[in-house]
């Protein structure tokens, strides 16, 4: 680790769901770092702990049932896990911006666009209402909202999904945060709009040098946006690599499966997409060994009894798999 503080450094984060059916380790020892201007993609199937990781960073977990039980989230060198709620108020929206999956339902239906953007500005800056309005207009233009001046008076239901997502992005970057968390920001959008929003995020990130965590299950989006990729399975990191390494030479059988399950343009139409057999195991009934073992094509006896630890087979690469270690 370098001496100068990274925008975001997560060390051994553990988030547990305390439910009637028992404790579930939703995030089990996640570590990752994001440098300024870097995009780290968090990839995995639904329920693998991606979104709960993001909410843990923001300390916005639904409590009960979810609670951080261990680890550190260092924001510019400062661990924010032990901070009281009041201190978190000054961090959310100011030092960490967040973008959500469903843009339309993520905006308050009875408040105008202007009001919702002005609100975040007035919470974290010294701007007066008039100045905040001017700034809101600038922000809308910055995120490429067509006809921005008129959209300030609009309500969310009068905007398209892409426009709503631009409003949310404007709110997330309003206070120039050092970290931006995008939780499946394009999943609910049309493909053409997806490309626009991705391009916008990339541009904003490059201009401001933000550290970005990009959560998605879409490997096509990962290839387009990420510098580094963290693959999660059942609450744990199973592989980490640069985006090029990951697609060229995936090490973990789960990553191989994910890439195989992604359609590639130009492939034979008749060729059936490879799927990963079985389902993600429920978190309260994880197997004793590797969580992926029941679905793994390369499963060995050892995998059923022991959990593989993360190892570094090459510089900048991490993988948690006994089979991958041997090759």
């Amino acid at each position: 680790m370098s001496g100068s503080a990274l925008p975001l450094e997560i060390v051994d984060l553990r988030t547990t769901l305390f439910t009637r059916r028992g404790e579930m380790k939703a995030v089990d020892g996640l570590s990752l770092t994001v440098a300024a201007g870097e995009t780290v993609a968090l990839v995995g199937e639904s329920g693998c702990g991606k979104s709960l990781s993001a909410l843990s960073i923001m300390r916005l977990l639904p409590d009960p049932p979810a609670r951080i039980v261990g680890g550190q989230v260092k924001l510019n060198g400062r661990d924010i896990v032990p901070l009281p709620e009041e201190a978190m108020l000054g961090i959310r929206g100011k030092e960490i911006g967040m973008i959500f999956q469903d843009p339309l339902s993520s905006l308050n239906p009875v408040a105008t666009v202007e009001k919702q953007i002005v609100e975040v500005l007035m919470t974290h800056t010294e701007l007066g209402r008039g100045q905040a309005r001017v700034r809101a207009h600038e922000l809308l233009e910055l995120v490429g909202m067509p006809d921005a001046a008129r959209r300030l008076d609009a309500y969310p239901h009068q905007l398209s999904g892409g426009m709503c997502q631009r409003v949310i992005i404007a709110m997330a970057i309003a206070c120039s945060p050092s970290v931006l968390i995008a939780d499946e920001p394009t999943t609910a959008l049309d493909v053409t709009v997806q490309a626009q929003v991705l391009a916008l995020l990339k541009k904003l990130q490059a201009d401001a040098g933000m550290a970005m965590i990009f959560i998605t299950h879409d490997l096509g989006v990962v290839a387009e946006t990420a510098d580094r990729v963290v693959v999660m399975y059942a609450g744990r990191k199973v592989e980490e690599a640069s985006v090029d390494d990951l697609f060229e030479n995936p090490l973990h059988p789960y990553t191989v499966g994910l890439i195989g399950a992604t359609p590639t343009p130009g492939a034979e139409r008749a060729e059936r997409l490879a799927d990963i057999p079985g389902m993600v195991p429920p978190l309260n009934a994880l197997p004793q060994g590797c969580a992926f073992a029941p679905r793994c094509p390369r499963v060995m006896d050892r995998c059923l009894t022991q959990k593989p630890a993360l190892t570094a087979p090459a510089p900048g690469r991490l993988v948690a798999c006994f089979a991958a270690e041997r090759t």
Partner: protein, 338 residues
């Protein structure tokens, strides 16, 4: 930047929303005409079917048994006409704001109602204001302290006031606060011989307002609590928290306004029952309002007054529902009421 595939409707500015509200108002007023006609016809027929007539009571009370006098009275009050003719005459008179004549008060029906109206309006407004303020506040508190002692306390209190009949509650409050403790007057609207000072009237208003309003407060509390809890689960609340707003700010600025919508809806539906409830409460507290007048008129078969109150009451309910639609439109910009 290229526009999105969907071309959205242009934002409705303030003036456009006002135009929409006026259009709604006009449509509702036009719809109210056949509605009122139906109300008049049905009420008229119901009263025709009811046993006894004011003439019987009037003649009995005045010990008139002379058939010629009775025949003369029947002719005077138009009771010899066929029912449909009486109805048409009544509707025709209504169109000229003539609600008929009340022999008992010896004045036009409209004047008799007018005299009693302020007391009832005062009671209804204060009861509804009480119900909304207590209901919304208690519902918000319960939802913020969900599954705690305070939540249970609010729920139990709401259940009690929901279940308690208002006349019983009124009598119990009289026993406690007037008879035992002597804090508040037993009934009436002002001290005997009083000149109707504001404080005196307010003093008399407390118990009837509580008796009538707490039932509705209980309903609004329950609705508000569940509505708050439901809205608090929605995505935009998480967005608001991600902006760094405190829990209280999120509750007030984002959850509350969205959660108010169902309360406003039931408020409109219940205007009629509040009016009906005031009949009972006015009798219990000798409150000199339209409810007392109605009760008295039913007992004395004074049908022109009964019918007049029904018609005016329906007008109030229709007006209240139009108001609710407008409030609804103001609260929720998504709504385009047809």
């Amino acid at each position: 930047m290229a526009g999105e595939l969907v071309s959205p409707t242009p934002a409705l500015r303030g003036s456009a929303r006002r135009t929409a509200a006026l259009r709604l108002l006009r449509r509702r007023l036009i719809q109210a005409v056949p509605l009122m006609l139906g109300v008049v016809i049905i009420n008229f027929c119901l009263i025709q079917m009811a046993p006894g007539s004011f003439l019987e009571l009037m003649t009995a009370e005045n010990q008139v048994s002379d058939p010629t006098t009775i025949a003369l009275l029947r002719k005077t009050y138009g009771l010899d006409d066929p029912v449909w003719m009486q109805l048409l005459k009544y509707i025709w008179a209504l169109l000229h704001f003539d609600f008929g004549f009340s022999y008992r008060q010896n004045m036009p029906v409209i004047q008799a109602i007018w005299i009693h109206l302020p007391a009832t309006v005062l009671l209804m407004v204060s009861s509804i204001a009480l119900a909304i303020s207590i209901g919304v506040a208690a519902g918000v508190v319960a939802s913020m302290k969900v599954r705690t002692f305070w939540d249970s306390l609010v729920s139990v209190a709401a259940m009690f006031f929901y279940a308690a009949p208002s006349f019983w509650l009124g009598i119990m409050m009289i026993v406690l606060f007037s008879v035992k403790l002597g804090w508040l007057p037993v009934g009436g609207m002002m001290k005997i011989g009083g000149n109707g000072g504001v404080l005196d009237i307010l003093h008399h208003l407390i118990l009837p307002t509580l008796a009538l309003g707490l039932f509705y407060a209980a309903i609004y509390t329950r609705v508000m609590r569940s509505s708050m809890l439901e809205v608090a689960q929605l995505d935009f609340v998480r967005t608001a928290r991600a902006k760094g707003l405190s829990r209280n700010k999120v509750t007030i600025h984002h959850v509350l306004r969205n959660a108010l919508l169902p309360v406003v809806t039931i408020l409109g539906v219940q205007m009629g029952t509040v009016l009906a409830g005031s009949v009972v409460i006015e009798s219990v507290f000798s409150w000199p309002g339209v409810g007392s007048l109605l009760f008295d008129s039913v007992s004395s078969r004074n049908y022109p007054v009964v019918l007049g109150i029904m018609v005016l009451g329906s007008l109030v309910v229709i007006a209240a529902n139009i108001a609710v639609d407008l409030i609804y439109m103001w609260l929720d910009p998504r709504i385009e009421i047809r």
